[in-house]
Amino acid sequence: MMITGDPQPASFNASLGHGGQKMSFDPNMRVLVVDDYRTMVRIIRNLLKQLGFTNVDEASDGSSALNMMRENDYGLVISDWNMEPMTGYEFLREVRADDELQRTPFLMVTAESKAENVVAARHAGVNSYIVKPFNANTLRAKIEAIFGK
């Protein structure tokens, strides 16, 4: 059975950049992108911008992301798996174990596609899982699914 966080309520339909499509989430929500590979952070940040998100922060590993989550209110976390010193999986478990943070929607975006790890992430409470390489449509579909379009 899937353990999910409780996504924030959709406040209004946001414009989707140049495509003019509509999505049901608040584009002003704060998003945290966690990846130790700067290029991937930049790609995700640009894709999020095209999806209408303008308030995007970044961290390079789980422990610094966890600290940022304790200081700021994030509506969505997008995290890689393979990072040091704290992996994305350990980060996810920490988030789900924290009373204050456990309801934050968590999307794993990773090259880690071993079946046992996908199962582990789902059991740990990840909301959705994207296998790299991915495209903008996949990212959009997963975010829409998390926010219950």
Binding site: M1, M2, H18, T39, R42, I43, N46, K49, Q50, S113, K114, A115, E116, V118, V119, R122, S128, Y129, I130, V131, F134, T138
Partner: protein, 137 residues
């Protein structure tokens, strides 16, 4: 030197001594590492150039001046095409590194006599499989 005797420092079959073979293998491994480093650097450089060009295009699409926007987009498209040349460069490096590793493996296999069993690293799932799994309740 009598019949059947080996040259000083050589193996029974006249091959290079162990020390020479190790030095050659180490040099091959260093060369492979250099190839991998260049591959990583080139892929990173190309990715950054492509991202910068994409950001230029996004900015140009939001600009008011259609003429300068058109020129900026055209230049960015050319930069993307040029950056894609990295595939040729890293392809050559990867082929070179692959040849070296295959050569080292062949030498090792000769001495081992058989191929050791690779450790099972687990089944990999594609996005469709992951989606199916997450859709199950």
């Amino acid at each position: 030197m009598g019949q059947g005797a080996t040259a000083p420092g050589r193996g029974w079959d006249g091959s290079a001594p162990e020390g020479d073979r190790s030095a050659k293998e180490m040099a091959d491994l260093v060369e492979t590492l250099r190839d991998l480093q260049i591959t990583k650097t080139e892929a990173n450089r190309a990715a950054n150039e492509i991202l910068t060009a994409c950001e230029t295009i996004f900015a140009a699409l939001d600009a008011d001046d259609a003429k300068s926007s058109h020129a900026a987009i055209e230049n960015a498209a050319i930069e993307i095409m040029t950056a894609c040349g990295f595939e040729d460069l890293i392809g050559q490096r990867a082929t070179h590194a692959s040849k070296i590793v295959k050569g080292l493996m062949a030498k090792r296999l000769e001495s081992l006599g058989s191929m050791p069993e690779a450790e099972d690293s687990g089944e990999r799932l594609n996005q469709a499989c992951v989606d199916t799994y997450f859709a199950e309740d």
